[in-house]
Symmetry: D2
Subunit: 134 residues, 4 copies
Protein backbone atom coordinates (compact mmCIF):
# COMPACT_ATOMS: atom_id res chain seq x y z
CA UNK A 1 0.00 0.00 0.00
CA UNK A 2 1.21 3.49 -0.85
CA UNK A 3 0.53 6.59 1.24
CA UNK A 4 0.48 10.16 -0.04
CA UNK A 5 -0.22 13.26 2.03
CA UNK A 6 -1.88 16.39 0.68
CA UNK A 7 -2.75 19.65 2.39
CA UNK A 8 -6.04 21.08 1.11
CA UNK A 9 -5.40 24.25 -0.86
CA UNK A 10 -7.68 27.23 -0.37
CA UNK A 11 -8.79 27.28 -4.02
CA UNK A 12 -9.89 23.65 -3.58
CA UNK A 13 -12.65 24.70 -1.17
CA UNK A 14 -16.10 25.70 -2.42
CA UNK A 15 -18.93 27.92 -1.24
CA UNK A 16 -20.11 25.23 1.20
CA UNK A 17 -16.91 25.95 3.13
CA UNK A 18 -15.30 22.52 2.62
CA UNK A 19 -13.12 20.92 -0.02
CA UNK A 20 -15.16 20.51 -3.23
CA UNK A 21 -15.92 16.89 -4.11
CA UNK A 22 -14.47 17.18 -7.60
CA UNK A 23 -11.04 17.82 -6.04
CA UNK A 24 -10.90 14.28 -4.67
CA UNK A 25 -10.77 12.90 -8.21
CA UNK A 26 -7.55 14.83 -8.74
CA UNK A 27 -6.10 13.82 -5.37
CA UNK A 28 -6.71 10.16 -6.17
CA UNK A 29 -4.96 10.62 -9.52
CA UNK A 30 -2.01 12.03 -7.57
CA UNK A 31 -2.20 9.08 -5.15
CA UNK A 32 -1.79 6.74 -8.16
CA UNK A 33 1.58 8.23 -9.11
CA UNK A 34 3.51 5.40 -7.37
CA UNK A 35 1.57 3.05 -9.66
CA UNK A 36 2.45 5.17 -12.69
CA UNK A 37 6.12 4.93 -11.68
CA UNK A 38 5.91 1.13 -11.93
CA UNK A 39 5.04 1.48 -15.60
CA UNK A 40 7.13 4.58 -16.36
CA UNK A 41 10.03 4.76 -13.87
CA UNK A 42 11.38 7.98 -15.41
CA UNK A 43 7.93 9.59 -15.26
CA UNK A 44 8.29 10.47 -18.93
CA UNK A 45 4.72 10.87 -20.17
CA UNK A 46 5.49 9.05 -23.43
CA UNK A 47 6.37 5.89 -21.50
CA UNK A 48 3.14 5.74 -19.51
CA UNK A 49 1.11 2.98 -21.21
CA UNK A 50 -2.00 3.29 -19.04
CA UNK A 51 -5.42 4.75 -19.64
CA UNK A 52 -8.11 5.36 -17.10
CA UNK A 53 -11.29 3.39 -17.86
CA UNK A 54 -13.40 4.06 -14.79
CA UNK A 55 -13.50 5.83 -11.45
CA UNK A 56 -15.91 5.62 -8.55
CA UNK A 57 -15.81 7.59 -5.31
CA UNK A 58 -17.92 7.38 -2.16
CA UNK A 59 -17.93 10.60 -0.19
CA UNK A 60 -18.21 9.65 3.48
CA UNK A 61 -17.43 12.84 5.40
CA UNK A 62 -16.74 16.47 4.62
CA UNK A 63 -13.08 17.37 4.08
CA UNK A 64 -12.00 20.49 5.92
CA UNK A 65 -9.52 23.17 5.01
CA UNK A 66 -6.54 23.50 7.36
CA UNK A 67 -5.89 19.81 8.09
CA UNK A 68 -3.74 17.30 6.22
CA UNK A 69 -5.36 14.49 4.25
CA UNK A 70 -3.74 11.05 3.96
CA UNK A 71 -4.43 9.18 0.73
CA UNK A 72 -3.90 5.42 0.56
CA UNK A 73 -3.45 3.42 -2.63
CA UNK A 74 -3.57 -0.35 -3.02
CA UNK A 75 -4.33 -2.87 -5.75
CA UNK A 76 -7.67 -4.65 -5.41
CA UNK A 77 -7.79 -6.80 -8.52
CA UNK A 78 -5.48 -7.65 -11.44
CA UNK A 79 -7.00 -8.81 -14.72
CA UNK A 80 -5.44 -9.70 -18.03
CA UNK A 81 -5.05 -6.20 -19.42
CA UNK A 82 -6.42 -4.07 -16.59
CA UNK A 83 -6.28 -3.64 -12.81
CA UNK A 84 -8.32 -1.95 -10.12
CA UNK A 85 -6.78 0.53 -7.70
CA UNK A 86 -8.36 1.10 -4.29
CA UNK A 87 -8.07 4.53 -2.65
CA UNK A 88 -9.04 6.02 0.69
CA UNK A 89 -8.79 9.59 1.97
CA UNK A 90 -8.44 10.10 5.73
CA UNK A 91 -8.51 13.35 7.68
CA UNK A 92 -8.10 13.73 11.45
CA UNK A 93 -8.50 9.99 12.04
CA UNK A 94 -11.71 9.73 10.02
CA UNK A 95 -12.30 8.22 6.60
CA UNK A 96 -13.58 10.98 4.35
CA UNK A 97 -13.74 9.19 1.00
CA UNK A 98 -13.01 5.89 -0.66
CA UNK A 99 -12.79 5.05 -4.32
CA UNK A 100 -11.62 2.85 -7.13
CA UNK A 101 -9.88 3.45 -10.44
CA UNK A 102 -9.72 0.93 -13.25
CA UNK A 103 -6.57 1.35 -15.33
CA UNK A 104 -6.08 -0.41 -18.66
CA UNK A 105 -2.71 -1.28 -20.17
CA UNK A 106 -2.65 0.49 -23.51
CA UNK A 107 -0.19 0.76 -26.33
CA UNK A 108 -0.42 4.32 -27.64
CA UNK A 109 1.36 3.30 -30.85
CA UNK A 110 -1.07 0.56 -31.86
CA UNK A 111 -3.94 2.41 -30.12
CA UNK A 112 -5.16 -0.80 -28.50
CA UNK A 113 -5.11 -2.43 -25.09
CA UNK A 114 -3.01 -5.51 -24.40
CA UNK A 115 -1.94 -7.91 -21.65
CA UNK A 116 -0.07 -6.44 -18.69
CA UNK A 117 3.68 -7.12 -19.03
CA UNK A 118 4.83 -9.78 -16.53
CA UNK A 119 7.26 -7.60 -14.60
CA UNK A 120 4.68 -4.83 -14.17
CA UNK A 121 2.11 -7.41 -13.04
CA UNK A 122 4.57 -8.78 -10.46
CA UNK A 123 5.16 -5.29 -9.09
CA UNK A 124 1.40 -4.67 -8.82
CA UNK A 125 0.92 -7.97 -6.98
CA UNK A 126 3.16 -6.70 -4.16
CA UNK A 127 0.46 -4.14 -3.39
CA UNK A 128 -2.54 -6.43 -3.68
CA UNK A 129 -5.03 -6.35 -0.82
CA UNK A 130 -7.95 -8.65 -0.09
CA UNK A 131 -10.91 -7.56 -2.20
CA UNK A 132 -13.35 -5.39 -0.28
CA UNK A 133 -16.78 -6.95 0.23
CA UNK A 134 -18.87 -3.81 0.31
CA UNK B 1 -33.34 15.37 -19.70
CA UNK B 2 -31.15 18.44 -19.47
CA UNK B 3 -28.42 19.35 -21.93
CA UNK B 4 -25.39 21.53 -21.20
CA UNK B 5 -22.63 22.42 -23.65
CA UNK B 6 -19.03 23.05 -22.64
CA UNK B 7 -16.02 23.94 -24.76
CA UNK B 8 -12.84 22.27 -23.45
CA UNK B 9 -10.48 24.87 -22.01
CA UNK B 10 -6.78 24.65 -22.78
CA UNK B 11 -5.83 24.32 -19.10
CA UNK B 12 -8.17 21.30 -18.93
CA UNK B 13 -5.90 19.31 -21.25
CA UNK B 14 -2.99 17.27 -19.88
CA UNK B 15 0.37 16.06 -21.17
CA UNK B 16 -1.31 13.20 -23.08
CA UNK B 17 -2.74 15.94 -25.31
CA UNK B 18 -6.41 15.38 -24.45
CA UNK B 19 -8.78 16.61 -21.77
CA UNK B 20 -7.68 15.21 -18.40
CA UNK B 21 -10.10 12.67 -16.93
CA UNK B 22 -10.44 14.53 -13.63
CA UNK B 23 -12.02 17.44 -15.54
CA UNK B 24 -15.09 15.35 -16.38
CA UNK B 25 -16.01 15.19 -12.68
CA UNK B 26 -16.27 18.96 -12.69
CA UNK B 27 -18.19 19.08 -15.98
CA UNK B 28 -20.75 16.63 -14.62
CA UNK B 29 -21.12 18.80 -11.49
CA UNK B 30 -21.85 21.69 -13.86
CA UNK B 31 -24.31 19.50 -15.79
CA UNK B 32 -26.20 18.96 -12.51
CA UNK B 33 -26.90 22.66 -12.05
CA UNK B 34 -30.44 22.38 -13.50
CA UNK B 35 -31.03 19.80 -10.74
CA UNK B 36 -29.61 22.17 -8.13
CA UNK B 37 -32.02 24.84 -9.38
CA UNK B 38 -34.96 22.56 -8.56
CA UNK B 39 -33.89 22.61 -4.91
CA UNK B 40 -32.53 26.16 -4.79
CA UNK B 41 -34.27 28.23 -7.49
CA UNK B 42 -32.36 31.38 -6.54
CA UNK B 43 -29.03 29.49 -6.68
CA UNK B 44 -28.25 30.83 -3.20
CA UNK B 45 -25.75 28.36 -1.78
CA UNK B 46 -27.41 28.44 1.64
CA UNK B 47 -30.64 27.05 0.17
CA UNK B 48 -29.06 24.06 -1.55
CA UNK B 49 -29.95 21.10 0.68
CA UNK B 50 -28.06 18.45 -1.25
CA UNK B 51 -24.85 16.58 -0.61
CA UNK B 52 -22.98 14.37 -3.03
CA UNK B 53 -22.68 10.80 -1.73
CA UNK B 54 -21.14 9.01 -4.68
CA UNK B 55 -19.91 9.45 -8.23
CA UNK B 56 -18.90 6.96 -10.88
CA UNK B 57 -17.62 7.66 -14.38
CA UNK B 58 -16.79 5.36 -17.29
CA UNK B 59 -14.33 6.90 -19.72
CA UNK B 60 -15.22 5.59 -23.16
CA UNK B 61 -13.22 7.73 -25.58
CA UNK B 62 -10.63 10.48 -25.43
CA UNK B 63 -11.98 14.02 -25.29
CA UNK B 64 -10.22 16.40 -27.65
CA UNK B 65 -9.42 20.07 -27.34
CA UNK B 66 -11.08 22.32 -29.94
CA UNK B 67 -14.50 20.65 -30.16
CA UNK B 68 -17.65 21.23 -28.11
CA UNK B 69 -18.83 18.62 -25.62
CA UNK B 70 -22.52 18.03 -24.95
CA UNK B 71 -23.39 16.89 -21.43
CA UNK B 72 -26.73 15.20 -20.74
CA UNK B 73 -28.36 14.89 -17.34
CA UNK B 74 -31.33 12.72 -16.40
CA UNK B 75 -32.72 11.08 -13.26
CA UNK B 76 -32.24 7.31 -13.08
CA UNK B 77 -33.68 6.47 -9.68
CA UNK B 78 -35.47 8.30 -6.86
CA UNK B 79 -35.26 6.87 -3.34
CA UNK B 80 -36.65 8.12 -0.05
CA UNK B 81 -33.92 10.62 0.76
CA UNK B 82 -31.64 10.31 -2.24
CA UNK B 83 -31.67 10.11 -6.04
CA UNK B 84 -29.31 9.02 -8.79
CA UNK B 85 -28.38 11.31 -11.66
CA UNK B 86 -27.26 9.86 -14.98
CA UNK B 87 -24.78 11.78 -17.14
CA UNK B 88 -23.28 11.37 -20.57
CA UNK B 89 -20.62 13.40 -22.38
CA UNK B 90 -20.70 13.42 -26.19
CA UNK B 91 -18.17 14.91 -28.59
CA UNK B 92 -18.40 14.91 -32.41
CA UNK B 93 -21.22 12.37 -32.39
CA UNK B 94 -19.43 9.92 -30.13
CA UNK B 95 -20.06 9.10 -26.47
CA UNK B 96 -16.89 9.97 -24.58
CA UNK B 97 -17.98 9.31 -20.98
CA UNK B 98 -20.97 8.27 -18.93
CA UNK B 99 -21.48 8.51 -15.20
CA UNK B 100 -23.74 8.63 -12.20
CA UNK B 101 -24.00 10.88 -9.16
CA UNK B 102 -25.93 9.99 -6.02
CA UNK B 103 -27.26 13.10 -4.28
CA UNK B 104 -28.71 12.98 -0.77
CA UNK B 105 -31.25 15.43 0.59
CA UNK B 106 -29.58 16.97 3.61
CA UNK B 107 -30.59 19.53 6.18
CA UNK B 108 -27.47 21.57 6.95
CA UNK B 109 -29.08 22.92 10.14
CA UNK B 110 -29.80 19.55 11.73
CA UNK B 111 -26.78 18.00 9.94
CA UNK B 112 -28.80 14.96 8.94
CA UNK B 113 -30.40 13.55 5.80
CA UNK B 114 -34.16 13.40 5.40
CA UNK B 115 -36.95 12.49 2.96
CA UNK B 116 -37.08 14.41 -0.30
CA UNK B 117 -39.79 17.11 -0.15
CA UNK B 118 -42.79 16.15 -2.30
CA UNK B 119 -42.61 19.06 -4.72
CA UNK B 120 -38.90 18.50 -5.37
CA UNK B 121 -39.57 14.79 -5.91
CA UNK B 122 -42.29 15.62 -8.42
CA UNK B 123 -39.93 17.88 -10.35
CA UNK B 124 -37.26 15.14 -10.41
CA UNK B 125 -39.80 12.60 -11.72
CA UNK B 126 -40.30 14.73 -14.83
CA UNK B 127 -36.71 13.89 -15.78
CA UNK B 128 -36.78 10.20 -14.91
CA UNK B 129 -35.48 7.80 -17.56
CA UNK B 130 -35.68 4.02 -17.72
CA UNK B 131 -32.93 2.55 -15.58
CA UNK B 132 -29.90 1.49 -17.60
CA UNK B 133 -29.27 -2.25 -17.60
CA UNK B 134 -25.48 -2.24 -17.91
CA UNK C 1 -12.24 43.02 -29.54
CA UNK C 2 -13.37 39.49 -28.78
CA UNK C 3 -16.08 38.59 -26.29
CA UNK C 4 -16.43 35.25 -24.47
CA UNK C 5 -19.11 34.34 -21.97
CA UNK C 6 -18.59 31.94 -19.07
CA UNK C 7 -20.98 30.78 -16.40
CA UNK C 8 -19.22 30.33 -13.02
CA UNK C 9 -19.07 26.65 -12.10
CA UNK C 10 -19.79 25.60 -8.55
CA UNK C 11 -16.34 24.06 -8.07
CA UNK C 12 -14.86 27.43 -9.05
CA UNK C 13 -16.22 29.04 -5.88
CA UNK C 14 -14.25 28.98 -2.63
CA UNK C 15 -15.03 29.09 1.07
CA UNK C 16 -15.52 32.87 0.94
CA UNK C 17 -18.65 32.10 -1.11
CA UNK C 18 -17.49 33.73 -4.35
CA UNK C 19 -15.48 32.65 -7.38
CA UNK C 20 -11.89 32.04 -6.29
CA UNK C 21 -9.41 34.56 -7.71
CA UNK C 22 -7.17 31.90 -9.23
CA UNK C 23 -10.04 30.89 -11.53
CA UNK C 24 -9.83 34.22 -13.38
CA UNK C 25 -6.37 33.28 -14.68
CA UNK C 26 -7.97 30.26 -16.39
CA UNK C 27 -10.92 32.26 -17.72
CA UNK C 28 -8.56 34.81 -19.28
CA UNK C 29 -6.61 31.94 -20.90
CA UNK C 30 -9.94 30.80 -22.36
CA UNK C 31 -10.71 34.36 -23.47
CA UNK C 32 -7.43 34.32 -25.46
CA UNK C 33 -8.52 31.37 -27.59
CA UNK C 34 -9.60 33.64 -30.50
CA UNK C 35 -6.01 34.93 -30.43
CA UNK C 36 -4.66 31.38 -30.43
CA UNK C 37 -6.81 30.67 -33.49
CA UNK C 38 -5.02 33.44 -35.39
CA UNK C 39 -1.75 31.53 -34.95
CA UNK C 40 -3.16 27.98 -35.12
CA UNK C 41 -6.43 28.06 -37.12
CA UNK C 42 -6.95 24.29 -36.73
CA UNK C 43 -6.39 24.55 -32.96
CA UNK C 44 -3.80 21.77 -33.25
CA UNK C 45 -1.57 22.22 -30.23
CA UNK C 46 1.58 21.50 -32.27
CA UNK C 47 0.91 24.55 -34.44
CA UNK C 48 0.53 27.02 -31.60
CA UNK C 49 3.83 28.94 -31.57
CA UNK C 50 3.09 31.12 -28.55
CA UNK C 51 4.32 31.06 -24.98
CA UNK C 52 2.99 33.06 -22.08
CA UNK C 53 5.63 35.35 -20.60
CA UNK C 54 3.63 37.36 -18.07
CA UNK C 55 0.19 37.88 -16.62
CA UNK C 56 -1.23 40.54 -14.36
CA UNK C 57 -4.74 40.80 -12.97
CA UNK C 58 -6.47 43.48 -10.91
CA UNK C 59 -9.40 42.16 -8.91
CA UNK C 60 -11.96 44.95 -8.73
CA UNK C 61 -15.13 43.28 -7.41
CA UNK C 62 -16.22 39.89 -6.13
CA UNK C 63 -17.51 37.50 -8.78
CA UNK C 64 -20.71 35.72 -7.77
CA UNK C 65 -21.97 32.25 -8.52
CA UNK C 66 -25.21 32.09 -10.53
CA UNK C 67 -24.59 34.95 -12.96
CA UNK C 68 -22.84 34.98 -16.33
CA UNK C 69 -19.47 36.67 -16.74
CA UNK C 70 -18.48 38.40 -19.96
CA UNK C 71 -14.79 38.35 -20.82
CA UNK C 72 -13.34 40.84 -23.30
CA UNK C 73 -10.07 40.43 -25.14
CA UNK C 74 -8.20 43.07 -27.12
CA UNK C 75 -4.62 43.77 -28.20
CA UNK C 76 -2.93 46.59 -26.33
CA UNK C 77 0.57 46.56 -27.78
CA UNK C 78 2.46 44.71 -30.53
CA UNK C 79 6.24 44.42 -30.28
CA UNK C 80 8.76 42.68 -32.51
CA UNK C 81 8.36 39.15 -31.13
CA UNK C 82 5.66 39.65 -28.49
CA UNK C 83 2.31 41.32 -27.90
CA UNK C 84 0.17 42.32 -24.93
CA UNK C 85 -3.42 41.18 -24.58
CA UNK C 86 -5.87 43.21 -22.52
CA UNK C 87 -8.71 41.43 -20.70
CA UNK C 88 -11.72 42.50 -18.68
CA UNK C 89 -14.30 40.43 -16.80
CA UNK C 90 -17.77 41.93 -16.35
CA UNK C 91 -20.67 40.58 -14.29
CA UNK C 92 -24.13 42.16 -13.94
CA UNK C 93 -22.96 45.43 -15.52
CA UNK C 94 -19.96 45.81 -13.26
CA UNK C 95 -16.26 45.34 -14.03
CA UNK C 96 -15.00 42.56 -11.76
CA UNK C 97 -11.42 42.16 -13.00
CA UNK C 98 -9.02 43.45 -15.61
CA UNK C 99 -5.72 42.02 -16.70
CA UNK C 100 -2.95 41.68 -19.23
CA UNK C 101 -1.11 38.75 -20.77
CA UNK C 102 2.18 39.05 -22.64
CA UNK C 103 2.53 36.35 -25.28
CA UNK C 104 5.83 35.69 -27.07
CA UNK C 105 6.14 34.19 -30.53
CA UNK C 106 8.19 31.04 -30.04
CA UNK C 107 9.49 28.36 -32.35
CA UNK C 108 9.24 25.10 -30.39
CA UNK C 109 11.65 23.41 -32.84
CA UNK C 110 14.52 25.85 -32.42
CA UNK C 111 13.42 26.57 -28.81
CA UNK C 112 13.81 30.31 -29.31
CA UNK C 113 11.60 33.33 -29.78
CA UNK C 114 11.45 35.15 -33.08
CA UNK C 115 9.72 38.03 -34.91
CA UNK C 116 5.96 37.78 -35.31
CA UNK C 117 5.05 36.63 -38.85
CA UNK C 118 3.61 39.50 -40.91
CA UNK C 119 0.18 37.96 -41.54
CA UNK C 120 -0.29 37.15 -37.83
CA UNK C 121 0.78 40.69 -36.92
CA UNK C 122 -1.76 42.10 -39.38
CA UNK C 123 -4.53 40.03 -37.81
CA UNK C 124 -3.55 41.20 -34.32
CA UNK C 125 -3.59 44.84 -35.46
CA UNK C 126 -7.28 44.53 -36.30
CA UNK C 127 -7.94 44.11 -32.57
CA UNK C 128 -5.60 46.84 -31.33
CA UNK C 129 -7.08 49.30 -28.84
CA UNK C 130 -5.65 52.56 -27.56
CA UNK C 131 -3.18 51.80 -24.76
CA UNK C 132 -4.71 52.20 -21.33
CA UNK C 133 -3.17 54.94 -19.24
CA UNK C 134 -3.75 53.48 -15.78
CA UNK D 1 10.92 34.20 4.03
CA UNK D 2 8.64 31.18 3.87
CA UNK D 3 9.28 28.10 1.75
CA UNK D 4 6.64 25.67 0.47
CA UNK D 5 7.26 22.61 -1.65
CA UNK D 6 4.79 21.25 -4.19
CA UNK D 7 5.04 18.25 -6.49
CA UNK D 8 3.41 18.94 -9.86
CA UNK D 9 0.25 16.83 -10.26
CA UNK D 10 -0.45 15.12 -13.56
CA UNK D 11 -3.74 16.98 -14.07
CA UNK D 12 -1.79 20.24 -13.70
CA UNK D 13 0.07 19.59 -16.97
CA UNK D 14 -1.37 20.66 -20.32
CA UNK D 15 -1.12 19.54 -23.93
CA UNK D 16 2.24 21.30 -24.31
CA UNK D 17 3.58 18.62 -21.94
CA UNK D 18 4.50 20.98 -19.07
CA UNK D 19 2.68 22.45 -16.08
CA UNK D 20 0.00 24.85 -17.33
CA UNK D 21 0.71 28.49 -16.49
CA UNK D 22 -2.62 29.04 -14.78
CA UNK D 23 -1.60 26.47 -12.15
CA UNK D 24 1.11 28.79 -10.82
CA UNK D 25 -1.54 31.27 -9.66
CA UNK D 26 -2.93 28.53 -7.41
CA UNK D 27 0.50 27.46 -6.17
CA UNK D 28 1.32 31.04 -5.18
CA UNK D 29 -2.01 31.24 -3.30
CA UNK D 30 -0.89 28.10 -1.45
CA UNK D 31 2.53 29.66 -0.82
CA UNK D 32 0.74 32.58 0.90
CA UNK D 33 -0.85 30.35 3.52
CA UNK D 34 1.83 31.18 6.14
CA UNK D 35 0.79 34.82 5.61
CA UNK D 36 -2.88 33.90 6.02
CA UNK D 37 -1.97 32.20 9.32
CA UNK D 38 -0.63 35.51 10.64
CA UNK D 39 -4.11 37.01 10.23
CA UNK D 40 -6.15 33.87 11.03
CA UNK D 41 -4.04 31.57 13.25
CA UNK D 42 -6.82 28.98 13.45
CA UNK D 43 -7.23 29.01 9.66
CA UNK D 44 -10.96 29.56 10.14
CA UNK D 45 -12.12 31.20 6.93
CA UNK D 46 -14.36 33.63 8.81
CA UNK D 47 -11.33 35.13 10.56
CA UNK D 48 -9.33 35.81 7.41
CA UNK D 49 -9.65 39.57 6.88
CA UNK D 50 -7.73 39.77 3.62
CA UNK D 51 -8.76 40.21 0.02
CA UNK D 52 -6.59 39.82 -3.04
CA UNK D 53 -6.36 43.05 -5.05
CA UNK D 54 -3.78 42.19 -7.68
CA UNK D 55 -1.47 39.48 -8.92
CA UNK D 56 1.34 39.49 -11.44
CA UNK D 57 3.48 36.59 -12.58
CA UNK D 58 6.51 36.40 -14.88
CA UNK D 59 6.96 32.97 -16.42
CA UNK D 60 10.71 32.44 -16.81
CA UNK D 61 11.11 28.75 -17.63
CA UNK D 62 8.87 25.75 -18.30
CA UNK D 63 7.88 23.74 -15.24
CA UNK D 64 8.23 19.99 -15.75
CA UNK D 65 6.19 17.12 -14.39
CA UNK D 66 8.11 14.70 -12.14
CA UNK D 67 10.27 17.19 -10.21
CA UNK D 68 9.52 19.11 -7.02
CA UNK D 69 8.97 22.86 -7.12
CA UNK D 70 10.05 25.13 -4.27
CA UNK D 71 7.92 28.22 -3.70
CA UNK D 72 9.29 31.15 -1.74
CA UNK D 73 7.20 33.86 -0.11
CA UNK D 74 8.43 37.16 1.31
CA UNK D 75 7.00 40.61 1.99
CA UNK D 76 8.14 43.32 -0.41
CA UNK D 77 6.22 46.35 0.78
CA UNK D 78 3.82 47.23 3.62
CA UNK D 79 1.38 50.10 3.13
CA UNK D 80 -1.32 51.50 5.38
CA UNK D 81 -4.05 48.96 4.59
CA UNK D 82 -2.29 46.67 2.11
CA UNK D 83 0.96 44.80 1.52
CA UNK D 84 2.78 43.20 -1.38
CA UNK D 85 3.90 39.58 -1.27
CA UNK D 86 6.84 38.44 -3.43
CA UNK D 87 6.89 34.86 -4.74
CA UNK D 88 9.35 32.73 -6.65
CA UNK D 89 9.03 29.18 -8.01
CA UNK D 90 12.23 27.16 -8.42
CA UNK D 91 12.65 23.75 -10.03
CA UNK D 92 15.92 21.80 -10.34
CA UNK D 93 18.01 24.81 -9.36
CA UNK D 94 16.41 27.13 -11.85
CA UNK D 95 13.92 29.97 -11.32
CA UNK D 96 10.78 29.08 -13.25
CA UNK D 97 8.47 31.94 -12.23
CA UNK D 98 8.31 35.00 -10.04
CA UNK D 99 5.32 37.02 -8.99
CA UNK D 100 3.62 39.46 -6.67
CA UNK D 101 0.31 39.52 -4.86
CA UNK D 102 -1.22 42.64 -3.31
CA UNK D 103 -3.40 41.79 -0.33
CA UNK D 104 -5.71 44.35 1.28
CA UNK D 105 -6.84 44.27 4.90
CA UNK D 106 -10.61 44.05 4.73
CA UNK D 107 -13.36 43.94 7.29
CA UNK D 108 -16.02 41.59 5.89
CA UNK D 109 -18.59 42.95 8.38
CA UNK D 110 -18.30 46.60 7.39
CA UNK D 111 -17.37 45.58 3.79
CA UNK D 112 -14.54 48.09 3.71
CA UNK D 113 -10.76 48.09 3.87
CA UNK D 114 -8.93 49.49 6.88
CA UNK D 115 -5.47 49.97 8.38
CA UNK D 116 -3.45 46.84 9.10
CA UNK D 117 -3.61 45.99 12.82
CA UNK D 118 -0.29 46.74 14.54
CA UNK D 119 0.49 43.19 15.64
CA UNK D 120 -0.17 41.81 12.15
CA UNK D 121 2.02 44.54 10.63
CA UNK D 122 4.82 43.65 13.05
CA UNK D 123 4.64 40.00 12.03
CA UNK D 124 4.75 40.93 8.34
CA UNK D 125 7.82 43.14 8.92
CA UNK D 126 9.77 40.09 10.07
CA UNK D 127 9.52 38.77 6.51
CA UNK D 128 10.28 42.02 4.71
CA UNK D 129 12.94 41.85 1.99
CA UNK D 130 14.65 44.67 0.13
CA UNK D 131 12.38 45.81 -2.69
CA UNK D 132 13.34 44.27 -6.03
CA UNK D 133 14.58 46.78 -8.59
CA UNK D 134 13.44 45.03 -11.77
Amino acid sequence: MFTTTVMPRFYETDAFGHVNNTVVTGWFETAREPIFRIFAPSMEVGELSLILARIEIDFVAQIHYGHEVTLTTAIEKIGNSSFTVLHEAWQQGRKAASGRAVQVYFDFETESSGPLPEHDRARLEEHLVAESKE
